[in-house]
Every structure is written in structure tokens, then in C-alpha cells.
Symmetry: C2
């Protein structure tokens, strides 16, 4: 059975490529060429039903991911489904279920059933929880069990998976040698390093990467090569640990392509404004143009409670520089598991960043809605203004909180509305 | 009596320059030189008591302004004082009172009494309201009355004033000739153009700019040259109307300096990401390095309800490129007069942008708090994490909403906390 990459290389346009192209509003040939080269990934598990395949990568609109999922402190199927609905309502492009609070299998199943966009996971969490269920520690997991969990989730229909394959002995050695202010802040990265220490063995996902590739081929999983060594603070940005891992990921990108498996590469994290462009360039160079999936980046460490804003600043800049996929950050980052309102705010913040970057990159048609909004403002047409807003419900709530005395204006300027004054209607 | 510029040019360090330098954490000589050249403005009305003078400009930390003020729909002294306290609590550097809802004189007086940071206004609003009180339209105001209002507010102690001196016949002619999607979105700009049309006369503030300079000299007002022609949507960005006005402002900057009067220049508005750097460069070139005071800029027109985020993205980029002073935008921009919560969110969003830019520009010491935060995170020291957050009250509220089962971690990852796992503490 051919994979997407193989089909694309053969010059044929698969059903998935065609559907993704329609959704993107570009010709299927553009997507096919990108998939063939590996600069575009099309997300859809072979077994998954009821979703539109999504294309992510070079030359396409920036996409946004919303992380949901339970933790032991807040574990409920119902809450996760509510978060899912909230993320979809404000138009996230993908969802990741990062649950670490039981019942994780049930939560994943329910999310898969109710999620019409591609779903991603981090299978190492599931593996670790299974160890706990059996009264073991995750460090006691057999390599076999990691792959079993990957296969189990693949068979469930998960479309893309974060695998911390760059967290190997070399990366761990560089980390020990060069040190860091904040060490490892990736859960998958930290678990992997502890496993390697305890077992005095190489990371199985790195060592037996071919086994991962086999599973990915079978189910058409897009592997998202995780950044276990991403900087967790500005002081650790673009350091040797991060770059060592990125270089490993670049090699694995090439191996994946040879095996006909689609990949993306994950990136920081925390970066000062002036290091963002270079980080995107490095990923594109070292990883041969693979789609770049960034978490933030956060441009300050001080924004706890407002990290979605720090992330939107970094995300806009990263996407403008060429990042393809923005993982949202919510206001509760660094403080708590996001709730439903946080999910909404996180998605919108990332969508603002992605949309601003689309316009700056000159993506065809991306500025058209802005022009519609501008015309609606000119015409004091409030219905269209609300409808064109990224979050119409929120926009309406602001307008309804304090209705203006005159329908035509808003309470900000009232009769001093510049647009109305310019029409010759003077305040009285 | 010498003005700040004249004192600085003579090589002497004024009391105000010394105090501003102490607050900034730089040597007074740096501020003195900047004031002498006009690349730094020190804000404090000669008559104002109880405030620390504030330096804004090249080489200094980015500063943030919060706009408060009433509109006819929401006019209350009490609410304005609450907004003032909210803005100060989250550490705005300056406040502008943009009231257009009566009692504006009383509101201004009360804000001045309770505001320990520099206060700015837009006197044309006050002038227009006085016309309305007397049953006249603002277009019927005599030029004399504009200057009377400026002098009245100067005598009250206002520290800086926006004057739409670049909205002259030439700018209006270019606007008519070249057209625009959204026309004039500046209240002061729109009022001025209507006044010029009705009276078939030049804008008095432009025509008799020397009278403004006289008042500014007398009270040591910093004139903020308003951008009445700022683009109100992406489609109008960096157009001829905007650039015509900017060119006029550049000439007036030089006249102001000759007269010993400190000035800043105001800028957009709405700009796509990829036009921000050029806009900053243009201002710095055409206006001979005068401090640049930007409103946003908003990088999309679609963010109604979240415009503070669109503004933080644009503000961070503008400040990194050299803008010196960020006027906040609140979540209610384009929809309603901001309430107390909006004021908080707006100030913090701009502070994130300014702080990120300070770090990127390499302002000495600016990354130190981020390093402290990173160390607190490493040590799972939650008290310090909360204290170091830009808005400690908000950060605490997130943590308190769902207290974690174990004090050491947060509900996001719980026992899977990467930092704790890295310390060898395994989930059980």
C-alpha cells in the first residue's frame, strides 16, 4: 500500500490531497508537490473517518493547534469534550489530546468520536500511565511497550503523534555538559531522559526509529518530531542542547522521507524576539524544509496569566518567518490546566498570530476578510462587523454589555465617532 | 525661563532629568544628551506636583500609555478614577484622559489629583465640548478657543497633549485625491477636517503653530504630534495621506526644537506585520529621531474583542524596530468604551510587548526579571513565580482556581511535571 508521500512522488493526486487542497483553496498540484518534497504534510490517519484531511506546510495558510486533555488533578471525559467543542467553535485547525489523568483511553476514544479535525497525541503519556496502572514506574517500561502504545493509538485513528526521538544519549550528554537554567521542560523529554538514566540505554524511539516508521506507514500517521530539549526560558534559548536535538531531528526527517513517512518538526518554546527568525531558518535548513510546528514561542518568561499574548507575539513573528503550525498557549500556561474559557482565548490568540502572518507572507486572499471588515466599519454596519470578527460571540458580548444610545456608533466615542463625523454628522 | 531642551543644550542637568534618569536606571548624562538632541522627551508640566518625570525615547525602556476617559454613553467621575487606579495597579507609565462625556473638566481635575504618572490629553475634545455646552457646533469654534483650551489644560498641569497639527489643507487634499477604504478614524483628525471644510480655512493649530509652541514653552508641555491621518485598516496602511501628514510632522518637529519645545510623534494604527519596521524607520528619518508613540499597531482588522492581542503583536515588533512609546489597545477597541478589566488587560498586553522589545533591543538589565522567573520555576518556588509575574494578582487567581493536589506542581501536568520528573521524582 502506498503512502501519501509515495503516491505524491508518483505524480498522482490522492483523494486526501484533493480534499486538503479544496479546503485550503489552492490547486491539488501545489499540495501534491509539497507532499512529494516533504515540505507539506497532509494529516489524516488511514483509518480515520469523518474528518477533512488538513495540509500544513510551506506556502499554505498558517494552522493552529489546541491542546486539551486531562491531568490527575482535573480528569473528566465531560470536561474534555467541552474543551473540544470550545476549540472547534473558535475554529482550531487541529486538536491534541495530552491527557495524563485517567481514564485516558476513554477520553481519547470520545474525543476521536467527536472531533472533525485531525487529532494528535503524545503516546509516551499513555505508555507511562499504563505502567502506573500496573503498579510500575514508567522507567520500568519495556521498549516493546512504547511501540505497543503507539500502535494502539494509531489503530484508534490518531492522525499525528509527537515522538521525542531527538532526546537521545547525545542530547542528554550535551545537556549535562553545558548545563541550563531550567533544564528539560518537556514532559516527554523529561520522562525519556529519566528512562534512559534508569535503564542505561538509548531512547528506544530513537534507537528503533524504523519500528516507528513502520507503524506510521501502516496507518499514515504524521510523525511530529518532538522538541524534548526546547528551552523553557529565554536564558536557555537556542543553546547547544536545543541545537543538538534539532540536528538529530534533521537526520530523522531524511530517514522518514526515505521510508515514505510524513513528518513535522516541533520547536520552541521560549525565545527572545530577536532569535525567532534564526530559529525558523535553522529548522528549515537542518530539517530540509519540513513543516515547523512551534509552541509559542513565548517572548518573555514573565507573562504568567497572559502567556497566550506572549505566545501570539512570538507565533506571529515565527509564522511570518516561515513556521507553518502554531500550537496555542493559553492564559493558564505555567499555572494550571486550561479551562474552557482558556481554550477559547488560546485558539483566538494563535489565530490572530497566524492570520497576521498569512497577510504578511502574501498568502492569496488572506487580507480579503480584513477588507470586508474595514468596509463594514466605514458603513457603520455592525452586523457585518460582528460576523467578520474572529470570535463573533465575544465581539457581540462587548457591544451588548453597554448598548450605545445611538445604534450607529459605539460607546467608545459615541457622537464623537470619527467615521460619523467624517460623514458630516456633527455631535450635538 | 529655560525649557528642558535649552537647559540640556547648555550642558546642565535639570532636576527633572536627574529624577527621570534615576527612575530609568541610567546616568543623567544619557537623558540630558537625548533631550538636547530631541531623541528623548522628559514628561512633566512645570506646574505639576507629585509626579516623577518620565523619560521616553531612544535607548530607553519602552513605555506604555493607558487611555481612559468618559464618553457621553458612559460618563462618571467615579468610574474614571477606578480605571485610573486599575491602570496604575498594573504599572502603566502614563495615562491619557480622552474624556468626551461631561463633566470633562471635573474628570480631568480629579484624574490629575490622583495620578502619580504623567497625564496627557487631547485638548480639541475639551474645546468641542465647550462649544456644545454653549449650544454651538465645534465647527463654529473660533481659532482663539482652541488655544484657550490648550492653555487652560496646561495651567491645570497636563504633562503632554496630542495636537493634530499635521491635519492641514494639504493632507485633506491628498486624502480627497487618493481616497481611502476607511477615511479618517482619528476623532481629532475628523473634527479638524470638518472644521476646515466648514470654515474654508487652514487648521488653526497648524497655521498658528507658534502659538502652541509658546504655551508649550511656558508650561513645559510635551507636544505629541497627532496622527489624524493614521490608517484605520490594513488596506489604508502607509498610504499617501498618512505619509503626507508624517512629512508635515517632521517639519514641525524641527520648528519645535528650534523653539526649545519637546515633541513626540504619533503613529499607526493598523499595519500589516511586514510594514511595521518601515513605518518606524520613516518616522525616525522624517522626524529626525523624535520619540515615536504608536497606537498598536494592529496587525489584523478582525480581532474585535481581542484587539489588545493584535496590538501587542504590532507593538512588540514596532518597539523592537525602534518605537519608544506604546499606547495600549484594550479588548473592547472598536466595540465599546473600555471598562476596568479591559484597562488591566490592555496595560499588561502592552507591557508584554514593550518588555519583549526591551530584551530584543538589549536594554541593560531588561532580561534580569525573566532569569529570576526561570530560576523560580526551576525551584518550583511558586511564591516567587507569582511575585515575578507581570500581573501577580491574575497569576495567583489562576493558581487558586483549581489548587493542585500537590503544592509543588500545578494542575497542568500534576505528577507529570517535567521539572519534577527531571529531579528524579517519578509519577506514582
Amino acid at each position: 500500500m502506498l503512502t501519501q508521500i509515495e503516491t505524491a512522488r508518483s505524480g498522482r493526486i490522492s483523494r486526501e490531497v484533493r480534499a486538503a487542497a479544496r479546503q485550503e483553496g489552492v490547486s491539488p498540484e501545489i499540495i501534491r508537490r509539497g507532499v512529494a518534497k516533504g515540505t507539506i504534510a497532509v494529516l489524516k490517519n488511514r483509518l480515520r473517518r469523518g474528518i477533512t484531511p488538513l495540509a500544513i506546510g510551506q506556502g499554505l495558510k498558517v494552522k493552529v493547534n489546541a491542546n486539551i486533555g486531562s491531568s490527575r488533578d482535573l480528569a473528566s471525559v465531560k470536561i474534555e469534550l467541552k474543551k473540544l467543542r470550545a476549540a472547534l467553535e473558535v475554529k482550531t485547525d487541529t486538536v491534541m489530546d495530552l491527557s495524563t489523568g485517567e481514564p485516558v483511553d476513554k477520553i481519547r476514544e470520545e474525543i476521536l468520536k467527536n472531533c472533525p479535525v485531525p487529532l494528535g497525541t503524545v503516546p509516551i503519556y499513555g505508555a507511562a500511565l499504563k505502567a502506573l496502572r500496573r503498579g510500575k514506574s514508567f522507567v520500568e517500561l519495556e521498549p516493546e511497550e512504547f511501540f505497543a502504545e503507539v500502535e494502539l493509538q494509531a489503530a484508534q485513528g490518531v492522525d499525528f503523534m509527537t515522538v521525542h526521538v531527538g532526546v537521545n544519549r547525545e542530547a542528554a550528554r550535551v545537556l549535562r555538559k553545558t548545563g541550563r537554567v531550567l533544564g528539560v521542560v518537556s514532559r516527554g523529554g523529561a520522562l525519556t531522559i529519566e528512562w534512559m538514566k534508569y535503564n542505561r540505554r538509548e531512547n528506544p524511539l530513537f534507537e528503533s526509529y524504523d519500528r516507528l516508521l513502520e507503524i506510521a506507514r501502516k496507518y499514515e500517521i504524521v510523525l511530529s518530531l518532538g522538541d524534548g530539549m526546547r528551552p523553557g526560558c529565554l536564558a536557555d534559548a537556542t543553546d547547544r542542547s536545543q541545537l543538538t536535538e534539532l540536528s538529530t531531528l534533521g537526520k530523522l526527517v531524511r530517514r522518514s522521507r526515505e521510508a515514505g513517512v510524513q513528518v513535522m518538526v516541533e520547536g520552541p518554546g521560549h525565545l527572545p524576539l530577536n532569535e525567532i527568525e534564526s530559529n525558523v531558518l535553522l529548522e528549515k535548513k537542518l530539517c530540509s524544509g519540513a513543516p515547523f510546528y512551534v509552541l509559542g514561542p513565548l517572548v518573555t518568561d514573565l507573562a504568567a496569566g497572559y502567556d497566550h499574548i506572549a505566545g501570539a507575539i512570538g507565533g506571529a513573528l515565527a509564522a511570518w518567518a516561515g513556521a507553518d503550525f502554531l500550537c496555542y498557549v493559553t492564559p493558564s500556561e505555567h499555572l494550571a490546566l486550561p479551562d474552557i474559557e482558556d481554550v477559547r482565548e488560546g485558539v483566538i490568540a494563535s489565530r490572530i498570530a497566524g492570520h497576521a502572518a498569512d497577510i504578511a507572507r502574501g498568502i492569496t486572499g488572506s487580507a480579503r476578510p480584513d477588507l470586508k471588515m474595514a468596509r463594514a466599519r466605514k458603513n457603520l454596519d455592525w452586523d457585518t462587523q460582528i460576523r467578520m470578527a474572529l470570535d463573533p460571540a465575544k465581539a457581540r458580548s462587548f457591544r451588548d454589555k453597554h448598548p450605545p444610545a445611538e445604534e450607529e456608533v459605539c460607546t467608545m466615542c459615541g457622537e464623537f465617532c470619527a467615521i460619523r463625523v467624517s460623514q458630516g454628522k456633527r455631535p450635538k
